[in-house]
Amino acid sequence: MDHVENRAVDGLIASQLNGRLTRRQLATGVLALPAITALIAACGSDKAKTTSTTGATTAPGADTTLTGATPTTVASETTLAAASGGNLIVAMDLPGGPFDPVGMYDLVAYGLVAQCFEFLCSLGDNSDIGPGLATEWSSNADATEWTFKLREGVKWQKGGDFTADDVAATMDRLVEGGNSGLGGIISKGSVTAPDPLTAVIKLDKAVGLFPYLVSVFNAQTVITPKDWALGNTLDKNPDGTGPWILESLDPTTSAKFKKNPDYWGGPPPLDSVEFQFFPDTDTQVTALQGGNVDVVMQFQASTGTSLFSDSSVDVSVLRAATHRQLWMRCDTGQFADKKVRQALALSLDRDVLISTLFDGKADLGNDHVIAPIYPYFDKTQPQRTRDIAKAKSLLTDAGFPNGLEATLYAGDLQEIKQLAQLVAVQAADAGFKLTASVVDNGSFYGKYWCPAEPKDPPCSGAAEIGIVDYGHRATPDVFLNAAIKTHGVWNSSQYSSAELDTAFEAFQAAPEADDAGRAAAAKNIQKIMNEDVPVCIPYFYNYLSATSKKVSGAQTSALGQIFLAKASKA
């Protein structure tokens, strides 16, 4: 029974419990569900234009590029005459957290904030990161100091010029907020401004790929005005430099933006863009097929099958570093012994997970954050495969000959609910008695992943074991800095390894041109993480999004962001 059916069955059962349905009606409803799902799936028509960075799928439609490790999509430049004006509607998941540019942590917030605010480094056209609020950048020889030349003529939506002082204040807030994956890289006062259009950032240590950390791929690093207060949110103070001005935001339904007529890149062709929130992706898919929305930001292969054969839709399939981390507490509790963590990792049948959850559209994970799309990924590392005998043996060695019981916490987001259930089922063969507890995603982060208390070290109030989502990053720096490094701001496993920290330092210190040095460090990181298993990463899934063929010029990252400054709708 798939996602759609599960939800519908939940509804049926709830209705029966409420006395609205007789048992016969309940049975009728349950029996009818597979037929309805099949009917919806059958509603698509001809073959769709599907694009893929893997090259495995036909790509007659949209232009999809993967330069280096940065997947972005530009929706098809169709031959349809693009009309100016109009309202474009984007379907996305329900928000899971605050719209605080510094404190946000869910992809919906990333997507909305990026409409109003901009980054130093944006997405280049069909390429890697490109000029944004910074037009060019360079570093000193050891990559400890970076100079960003800022764009001239950029204005804040509420008035005033954008200058280097805004960059300096933003960086200070990011340090203070501690949520940007820049921990240990910059300190307060690290930015100097020799002139209003030059920002010099002095790093605490060498980082060869630093521009990626102030780009779209580090979502919290949007530049906010100099006088922006920490804790301010998009809905309370919408004052960015971006192409869209927030008009209204209701977290239960939608957010609407109107075009910024004074945008430095010229007024956007569209009059307005609207982001509608949906509790599940199957409804988003139906809405796109019914013409009610123009873009679905992200969907799962299992629930959006019909889109692949719909001739009115462009589907983009992006190989990316998007993944789930099954964290296990390394400092305390039953998973503190790495043998237990290894046993759990060995109990998973990753091929089954990928075929069941993604219809094969994912890369195997090997319990480290160096995704196969990164150019420095070490292919020679042996892939961890299911080995129940070894898992049982490890559990026995760790003092759990009869297995162990634990609650596996997860948020109800995309395929994670099913993943939690599948993990519980697969791990049971090795002796793990995991109870999957899936809560609404809005509550999950603060309850089980990184509770606000205790603050120090961050995430030390996390549950013993759980599953959390991670969007794409063009480099693994944020994953490593925030989730894996000792006392990282999202380190829910409370993993602490001097060896890993050193390897990460070496990875970051490798100058931009030193591919060999970076690859050597990445190889080391893969080895350490695979051995210690602070997080189990079963797969890196392809980021799927869909756009109506009426839309052109829309650019999506695989981090929940869509860039619509040049978009138009026929």
Binding site: R7, A8, G11, L12, A14, S15, N18, R20, L21, R24, Q25, T28, G29, A32, L33, I36, L39, I40, C43, N87, I89, E247, S248, D250, P251, T252, T253, S254, K256, E274, Q276, F278, P279, D280, T283, T286, A287, Q289, G290, G291, N292, V293, T407, Y409, D412, V439, D440, G442, S443, G446, K447, Y448, P451, A452, E453, P454, G461, A462, A463, E464
Partner: protein, 318 residues
């Protein structure tokens, strides 16, 4: 009549107070602490203490209860644990949306169902009667969200006549909004048609068989006059009662329909409140739905009393 209405109002207020009290104690006097259920099982004692302090949960239950009642009197339903916004603000938009959908569904359902019920009674045991009864039975046995999904497939995806979701783009005119509400309203109307039509049919048959109907016919009233002046007036009270009960359900009980059509009404808020253990929000939802039930029932009672003097006389003399 005024005395009757005042009595019913007083009774409604007492019922509402009982409802508020029952809901308050049901959600607050749980085996697990409120803080634990909101913060999660793994929450540290310090975090639990801070939460209790912030929301004044350390006060005795009765103190909290009276504070809540005092707030209600001032139209303050408290603040949501999750968003920390006033509950009334959180529920304002969903309430308006639910009201629009419920009213539209009733506008579609009630006249058609009443007409169908009366027609079936007039053609008792005829082909039309059987068709109406069987259709009503069939449609009322299929849950609304199944009907809704089928309507989406037919009218939204295949024919592309109507929107497949009911999220109304901002700036849409009132008339334009109707287009978005047709499918969810229709999916509910199809289900309730059966209930209301059958109720109306039964009442109409009883009225048609009554002595007063026979007398009216003998006095020379034609069929149309008989139906309008005597049958509908006497057959409709039970139907009004059924409709009034359905109104409450249309506001708070259609979570599945709201999900199918991505319509953010009170139903979805109840779901969110339960999922997030957001007790003030949940209490607010229940209170609003309960109030709507009360108002609908009260209105129904008043209409019935107006239609049937015996009812208000009975109440007046008791």
């Amino acid at each position: 009549m005024t005395r009757y209405i005042l009595k019913r109002l007083l009774l409604a207020l007492v019922t509402l107070w009982l409802l508020v009290t029952a809901v308050y104690f049901m959600v607050n006097v749980l085996p697990q602490s409120v803080a634990k259920s909101v913060l999660g099982n793994t929450a540290l004692p310090e975090a639990v203490d801070r939460f209790n302090l912030k929301w004044k949960l350390n006060d005795p239950q009765l103190t909290q209860y009276f504070r809540y009642i005092k707030g209600l009197v001032h139209f303050d339903l408290g603040r949501s644990y999750k968003s920390e916004r006033p509950v009334l603000n959180v529920l304002g938009g969903p309430l308006v949306r639910s009201a629009k959908l419920a009213i539209f569904a009733l506008v579609i359902t009630v006249p058609i169902s009443i007409w169908a019920g009366v027609t079936a009674a007039r053609r008792r045991d005829g082909k039309l009667d059987r068709a109406i009864v069987l259709t009503g039975l069939a449609t009322s046995s299929i849950p609304e969200f199944v009907t809704g999904a089928l309507l989406v497939i037919v009218f939204g995806v295949f024919l592309n006549w109507l929107p497949v979701i009911s999220t109304i783009p901002s700036g849409t005119s009132l008339i334009g909004q109707v287009r978005y509400l047709i499918l969810p309203a229709l999916s509910m109307a199809i289900v309730y048609f059966g209930y209301i039509a059958r109720m109306m049919r039964a009442g109409s048959i009883k009225a048609l068989e009554s002595d007063y109907a026979r007398t009216a016919t003998m006095k020379g009233l034609n069929d149309r006059q008989l139906i309008r002046r005597h049958v509908i007036r006497n057959a409709i009270p039970p139907t009004i009662t059924v409709i009034s009960v359905q109104i409450g359900y249309l506001f708070g009980g259609i979570i599945a329909v709201e999900k199918v059509f991505n319509y953010s009404g009170i139903g979805q808020q109840i779901f969110v409140a339960v999922s997030a253990k957001d007790l003030p929000l949940l209490q607010g939802c229940v209170l609003i739905v309960g109030t709507i039930y009360m108002l609908a029932t009260l209105t129904a009672d008043i209409i019935i009393a107006w239609l049937n003097p015996r009812v208000r006389l009975q109440v007046g003399s008791s």
